[in-house]
Point group: C2
Chain length 396, copies 2
């Protein structure tokens, strides 16, 4: 038998407290039933198959309904096989049947939600997904230290990238070499994305023309990929002299991801590419100062876009043939968290947000430039946790 | 500009024809609106962001509503930004507003489905997911040839596994070496799973005690994994003499996956493990003969379970501390397709089903044994497309 909960009692209470506060802030006082892997991991420190039941009454403990794995134990751990068993188990434990119930409507399939609604026919259900996003956007100290650990390993892997390159290599071969190094350094590989529309394997290595190839996914940059079944990233083309190589590879070393991009050059690259890269570094410098609690995410986007415009790179900013609608995003257990740094974002920065800022430029025929760092928001500015040289480094 | 549709007109018609027939067989004559990446890839040969609109009237062509990537063209390719634009575009094209509308209710989030229902307030919606699963379970010749190509490369990679091993290696290091070789041979890496509950990176390499560690996911076998955020597979433990190493690594070389497991031994392994492995091979032999169109999937499970029982390995069959509820499954664009070879499966085999059959045994303290092959169902039996030696091969 093994204890289900891998977090301390205090950490579990803290996270549940954040969820409850976020629910109240959104106008709900309801009970919550969660089943998303990312949320079960958030609440317990472990992915399991089952449901976390958080009662509205904070004098009552949560109940952990576990389907798999078998042999789990702990306070309020209840083994069940299907959600239809939940109401009778609640009664056995002396918990009231909820009148209002929060469900993860943005991530759970329609059939799953309607099934849960049928299990609680008298409860009014509400969409818990925005509540979850709000709660998770402010990291605890423990979460921040896990992200910092990912950031240190992530940066160490990136420092070895030039040693992996040899002339004649394709973008795909360099990508696979970086993936391999990352895995050997303990990268878990899984790239968690909320929702089902975005897909990714592990790395996005973009060079030359391919950096400008539009992709279906809502990532900052594209690339046509190796196959139309996964049209993003490296295209299997030789890395040619006079091009840049932008590397944006999975930083999931702890269950918490850092997001980081660095740019390398092969041979002499055009001055325009170097200047655009310097503009990205300058935007980061400004971001570090400006990104404090209370600032509007949209103001940070406007800052980045206007610095890009003033430097004369508006047409390359966040893509050329196809543009991304954002230049930064929350990150943590998943890659697409809030706040989102976008023109119409309504997010307001809070202390201990974790934000991946990625002002990038696509220079036609040359490649992508601009760096990405992961930051923790503090009252004195954004603190970088992916510390590595920021200039364009030569590959060979 | 690039043509959106990468399949021939005939292939697109064939696949849409299967969808329509499956809808009719399920009692629906409705129009269908699809957005799942796996389905857009199925219908066009490419993943894009958008919606495929298949009118009920088969005299009318499908409409491809594309959000991203930009610069796509082709007959009935219509660029839109959000689904609310669909009804007015239908009117412009002279298409009637549907009275009944199939939506992917088992895979699309609740919020997405209710949004689409609001776009078509007068249409009665129905769950398209079982229809989609039924249509995709019977592969076209083109799909089979893509799976065959994956199978050939998959088998070639497996033939090199013993050369990747060196004494003292951990299960994780061997896993990473196999992943790296797979990637260099063109594995796309992405392991497509329908739904959100199952997660996986790329490989499941199980040895010794860890083969018996229960996992939350509904895979045939478990393993505790490297981190509680992804509790499946290799655990970072040294491969010890006297154990088996079961290798079940991603076979996605073409957008279509093959699923394949082989077992290796390190040092002398117990006779019981060898005998259970031989039982798995015997079950496969029987499956090849018995798995013809018209056979019940549940009868195939019963055959496997009773052969396991008669050989005295019931307690190890499909797991020991935790058991899987199936011993085979459909495979194609995704890993969890139909038919499912399970005791209460209602699936009936059809010609050109693709089935991964995986009768496995977990021998406590030793590891997992038993092979997995991917088969195409033909009138004369199941044809294996993952051809490689089936016996336990020594690692060193």
């Amino acid at each position: 038998m093994e204890n289900l909960i891998l977090l301390s009692k205090e950490e579990v209470s803290r996270r549940i407290g954040r969820l409850r506060s976020a629910a109240v802030a959104a106008g709900h006082a309801g009970t919550m039933l969660l089943a998303d892997n990312a949320m079960l991991y958030y609440l317990t420190g472990r992915v399991f198959s089952g449901w976390a039941y958080i009662p509205v009454d904070d004098a009552r403990l949560p109940i952990w309904f576990v389907r798999r794995p078998v042999e789990m134990e702990g306070g309020n751990v209840v083994g069940i096989r299907k959600p239809e068993e939940i109401p009778s188990r609640l009664e056995e434990l002396g918990y009231p049947i909820p009148k209002e119930l929060g469900l993860e409507m943005d991530v759970q399939p329609y059939s799953t939600i309607t099934r849960l609604q049928a299990v609680f026919p008298d409860a009014k259900s509400f969409n818990l997904s925005p509540v979850v996003a709000a709660a998770r956007s402010v990291k605890t100290s423990m979460e921040i230290s896990m992200m910092e650990r990912s950031g240190v390993i992530h940066a160490a892997v990136y420092s070895k990238i030039p040693s992996l390159f040899s002339p004649g290599m394709t973008d795909f071969e360099l990508d696979v070499a970086i993936e391999n190094l990352s895995r050997l350094e303990g990268c878990l590989g899984l790239f968690r994305i909320s929702g089902k529309s975005m897909e990714f394997f592990m790395g996005n290595v973009l060079t030359g023309e391919n950096a400008d190839a539009p992709s279906p996914y809502d990532f900052a940059l594209g690339g046509k990929g190796m196959d139309p079944s996964l049209p993003v990233g490296a295209a299997g083309e030789e890395i040619k002299p006079g091009t840049t190589v932008s590397v944006d590879v999975n930083g999931d070393y702890t269950g918490y991801m850092t997001d980081m991009t660095r740019v390398f050059s092969y041979g002499k690259i055009p001055a325009e590419a170097v200047a655009a890269h310097e503009c990205s570094i300058a935007i980061h410098r400004q971001f570090r100062r400006m990104a404090v609690p209370g600032v509007k995410a949209s103001d940070l986007y406007d800052m980045a876009a206007s610095m890009a415009r003033e430097a004369g790179f508006e047409r390359y900013f966040m893509g050329h043939r196809q543009k991304a609608g954002f230049c930064g995003h929350g990150v943590g257990i998943e890659i697409n968290e809030i706040p989102v740094i976008a023109p119409r974002s309504r997010d307001i920065l809070q202390e201990n947000n974790a934000i991946a800022m990625e002002p990038k430029f696509v220079i036609p025929h040359v490649g992508a430039v601009g760096i990405e760092n992961t930051y923790i928001i503090t009252p004195s500015g954004a603190r970088c946790i992916t510390n590595a040289p920021e200039e364009i480094l030569p590959l060979a």
